[in-house]
């Protein structure tokens, strides 16, 4: 077993063994990230491959002082955003008005109430723009200003998309609750 430092140094020397070991260590985690930002497994796999190529090619620019997991996660998120931008012109766009307004209640949600797969399916069913903003804000912890800069949109657009994503998810979770009951 290699330490993280050894893995990084080996990858910097383009060692195939170290690259494979690094993939084994972080591959599943990064695939989880890719799945959250895409609609399905096929797109997630594309993002995963592109992300890993970037990691291997740019590992020289990584400085040891920063969190390596944070660094590779950020690369994967940026790759997903790039993938979203590339496919934006081919995708069907939901305007805010097109998404049905959910009648929601402020009922509490528990982690145990839903499985991770159910939660993942609700994220995957979000319109592309909502999903990206929701993931960046809620899971990765970006601020609206950072999201606006990354996606080249207005801050208010980021805020409204998050709000609508929240309502959409509430409605979906309520549906799941009724089915589970």
């Amino acid at each position: 077993m290699y330490t993280l430092e050894e893995l990084i140094e080996g990858c910097k020397k383009q060692s195939r063994k170290h690259q494979d070991a690094l993939y084994k260590k972080y591959g599943n985690m990064l695939y989880g990230v890719a799945l959250r930002y895409t609609k399905n497994g096929f797109d997630a796999e594309d993002v995963l491959q592109e992300g890993w190529v970037k990691i291997y090619k740019n590992i020289d620019s990584y400085t040891i002082n920063n969190s390596f997991e944070g660094w590779i996660r950020r690369i994967m998120v940026n790759t997903a955003i790039t993938h979203y931008r590339i496919n934006l012109k081919h995708a069907y766009h939901h305007d805010i008005e097109d998404v049905p307004q959910a009648r929601t209640t402020d009922a509490p949600f528990g982690v145990d109430e839903y499985t991770k797969e159910e939660l993942m399916s609700t994220i995957n069913n979000l319109p592309d723009g909502y999903r990206i903003v929701f993931n960046m804000y809620v899971i990765e912890g970006y601020k609206h200003k950072e999201i606006a800069e990354e996606l080249n949109i207005d801050i208010n657009t980021s805020k409204s998309q998050l709000s609508r994503a929240k309502k959409y998810l509430q409605r979906e979770l309520q549906k799941l609750s009724k089915i589970n009951l």
Partner: protein, 224 residues
Amino acid sequence: MKRHEDPLFETYREAFAQYEAPAPAGTLAAVHRKMNKGGFWYFSWTSLNVYTLSALIAVGLAFSLFANEGGESSALSFTPKEKDLSLAAMEKTQEHLSLNEEENLDDDDSSLKIQKLASQLNSHQRGLVNQSKSNASSANNSKKNARTLAINLAQVQVRHEVILEKDLQRDQNLNFANAIEELAASSAEKTEVPSVDNAQGILDQAKTGAKETGITLKSKQKVK
């Protein structure tokens, strides 16, 4: 509302903060293929598409045809004769090339010549134009001269005719005078005693006749 205060957001954050999913098999191999993209071996084996294959086949066919043309001998193994032939062919092509170069040089000379000739022709044409202008003026002069000459000639002809008429008249008068003189002489001979008065009278008649025609007879011998 802060993100950690929203129960929905907390639910998703707790669920996906450390979420992992088994990555599909073959992803790592695909990553390595993408990493090697652009390398020599990638190009030689993964980009061996229909076009490169067809190009290789075409090259092989061309090589086999070239080898068959030489009969039993291989295309790459030269016998001395073949070498000589190939050298001769090379020399021929060299000569041909040099000739072509010379022809090209000749072409350059000829073009220069043509240019010179063209300039000469232009100057000649200019000269002809000038000459024609001068010719026109000279023609006018010659016309005038011809007219005067024609007039002169006509005058000369008229004078000549007049002279001829005069000459003819004189000849006729002379003949007439001779005839009279002969007649007078014969009549004097016929008479035994020539009458001087009669002869003189006849001679006077002849002189007056000659005077009328403008000819003066000084003596009998002169008229003859």
